[in-house]
Amino acid sequence: MRLRLRTHLGPKAAARPRLLPWRADHPPPLPDMPFTPGTARWREGVAIAPGPEWRQAGAAAVAVLPEGTRHAVLDARALRPEEAVAMAMGALLQAPRGFRLDLWHRGEDALAPLCRDARAVLKGVLLARRLTAAPGNALTPKIFARRLRRLERHGIGVQVLGRRRLRAAGFGALLAVGEGSANPPRLVVLRWRGRIAAPPLVLVGKGITFDTGGLCLKPAAGMEAMRADMAGAAACAGAMLALALRDSPAPVAAVLPLAENALGAAAYRPGDIITTLSGLTVEVVDTDAEGRLVLADALTYAVRAFRPEAVVDLATLTGAVVTALGHHRAGLFGNDAPLAAALCAAGEAVGERLWPLPIGAAHRRDLESGIADLRQCASGRLQPDACHAAAFLSAFLGGSPPAWAHLDIAGMAEEPADRPPGAAPAPGGFGVRLLDALVASRFEDPHRR
């Protein structure tokens, strides 16, 4: 995938398929083509009449390119720099692997830095996608951690905690989940120092490299999709890479609990009681609700180790959130209205949409346990499990919790059958651009306090 800037086209480039956007007040490039926002039609190239969403226009354009196109030109001479880059971004996100796009422009100075940032974010998305697409045997916690080590070359600090250190530190929940697998768990901590001397934003991502459900085994049909149950961790890693590549001034860290939820002789059982890193004891009700357990320890660690300004966690956590919001929006929970608003705004801006859902007193009550400090989930049918999971996580933020948001991205990790134009192709890397936009909008101003 490549994005290159050009101020003029050679004869070879001029012969490539061309994306040709125009505005309502310009004459149409094809005489018989009326201006209708969002339409795209193929002739020699692609003419698009974009609506307000340039990114979507780019995606729509790629969709009507002739099959097998690997290299195209975006004629952006009529666009402002930010419009041109947004459209290029939309096109590249939608395009097949290895796609190359030349951006033909009039030579504005503003374009180069915008383009650099776009490339950075695109690289982050691609990393997240590659990790998410990797099958469970090719991406065990150990291999995942090894691949994250490579981020060091971009100036990101990488620390990996193995089983022994996790045990010594008391990561009871993460270890319990990983116990059933021959591939032991890891905790990976990524650090980007930035240039602002302030407490960092900490990202936390669920990294279940494959989720069988454990003893509460999932049905066979569709289980293969569970290779993507680490999409939250992948998104955090992708966002860290994007921030590093565009040299963000904001200090950001990521805490990624990696484990395989397998069923084996040493697997944890429903009814087990786990002592988590926080000291709280948890009654296990369903071994397939493992994500909230590994996140619990990771959140506790994030708060203790970083005293962060804010914590945002991403997880393919519940089927309930898919029942609630489908594949068009991720569920947003949290304890801080400004942070939630900033996330929603960032999501709208990049087209990774969120919708707030509640954590109510009744949800917390549902998690009361007769034998431990709390239950991991409620049993029975028709449970608001996404709300329960969020209520559960909120118990692991310590005595004076930082601003926190939890994104349940279960509906967004894999491609829905009826993907609308403009949505990312599978597996989507959902969250990378959202987190990047959040950092840009809220954490890069050194005078923000």
Partner: protein, 498 residues
Amino acid sequence: MPDILFVKPTLPRAGALVLPLAEGFTLSGLAKEADEATGGAIARGLEAAGFKGRKGQSCTLWAPGGHLSRVVAVGLGAAPEERGAEAAGGAAWPLVSGEPEAMVAAEGLNAALAAALAFGARLRSYRFDRYRTKESAEDKPKLVRLTVASTEPEAARAAHAPLSAVADGVFLARDLVSEPPNVLFPEEMAERCRKLEKLGVEVEILGPKALKELGFGALLGVAQGSAREPRVVVMQWKGASKAGKGDGNGKAGPVAFIGKGVTFDTGGISIKPAAGMEDMKFDMAGAGAVIGAMAALAGRRAKVDAVGLVGLVENMPSGTAQRPGDVVKSLSGQTVEVINTDAEGRLVLADVLWYARERFRPRFMVDLATLTGAIIVALGHEHAGLFSNDDDLAQKLAAAGTAVGEALWRMPLGEAYDKALKSDIADMKNVGGRPGGSVTAAQFIQRFIDTREGPMPWAHLDIAGTAWATKDSATVPKGATAFGVRLLDRLVAEHYEG
């Protein structure tokens, strides 16, 4: 249901005394008199019980002396307000209902709060015992009169009068929802709406013949499997026109409330599992709430023009039942491919909403329906789902809900969800699959909100998770909650009676 009486404070000679106390209280007025009459037993008892007046706190002191058989203290929290007073009244009810007489020492509360406290007690007093033939008198509540001692009994009585009408509406809705489905079927439910005529509501009942002539194809399709005939009931309360304010309110059209009234939902041919099917008697709770709200508005002579429409059907599997795969033509002219006969509520609402819009040109429409299991998975039982095409209406509804303790949570709508309804052979399917199940249901309904002649503010409340309670709460005993009655009443009172 107990009578509520407001009087000047005088210490009762017998029975129970209720003391609503805020945090940091000192006993005064009747409480102090009673304390003195019992030689300080009340103050000592509250101290020993650790009663601090916190919200939700209560304690009973038995036979403290004097002639009192018990003293019940209920906490009001730090700063008494309307909901707190209601909750205190509700908390007191089960603690005194075994007494023939009880007095509330409410001199510390202003008239509005004293009324709210009495209202709360009354809401909690509801019970549905019509089919318990062997319950002993001992097990039944004995309290027939709750006396509220207030320094301004006239004002408290005046403040309580509209609340009493609202309580009547709530009780009516709870009765309707609690009734078993062999007793309450569409025809019977329509007959019960007739009782609203006594309050001045115009009631019009449309039977199968009229519905067929009008073209209620979607609703009739649902009803065709049952031996019980469907009904659509139209209730009109012309409180603004009658008050001579027809120009203000009338021009904008009435407010319109529409309720789903599936008196029993087996699922039809797409039959539900046996476990829990008995709950499906409350699949008419939306209609119940609309009827209750109309009763409340008429009962308190609200200065508003309001129409309530309920679509009443029974969804049964049988030789005549609608099949998955059938295509029905709705009143709007749009055709619907019925994929799942258990997604019947939206078919009923589709026709009734279209009819409401065409006939009344309302200023807005709110529909209530126990529509989807998905809303329970999304939100649980604390919030009902709120879907709306109008931010202003949504905000007003949410605020009214918060004020009366019937909480709403806004859920999304959007074109992306609407696409799930695409049918290969008709204008739409009646289900959009599991993902976003409540949202696609709302999208379906939205297709029957006619906006061809301009915006039509509309909100849809999915009350599947809030229509029935499995646990007692302060003002709602377990069972039918009548969720929506107070909310709609409050919405009107706050914004549409001026």
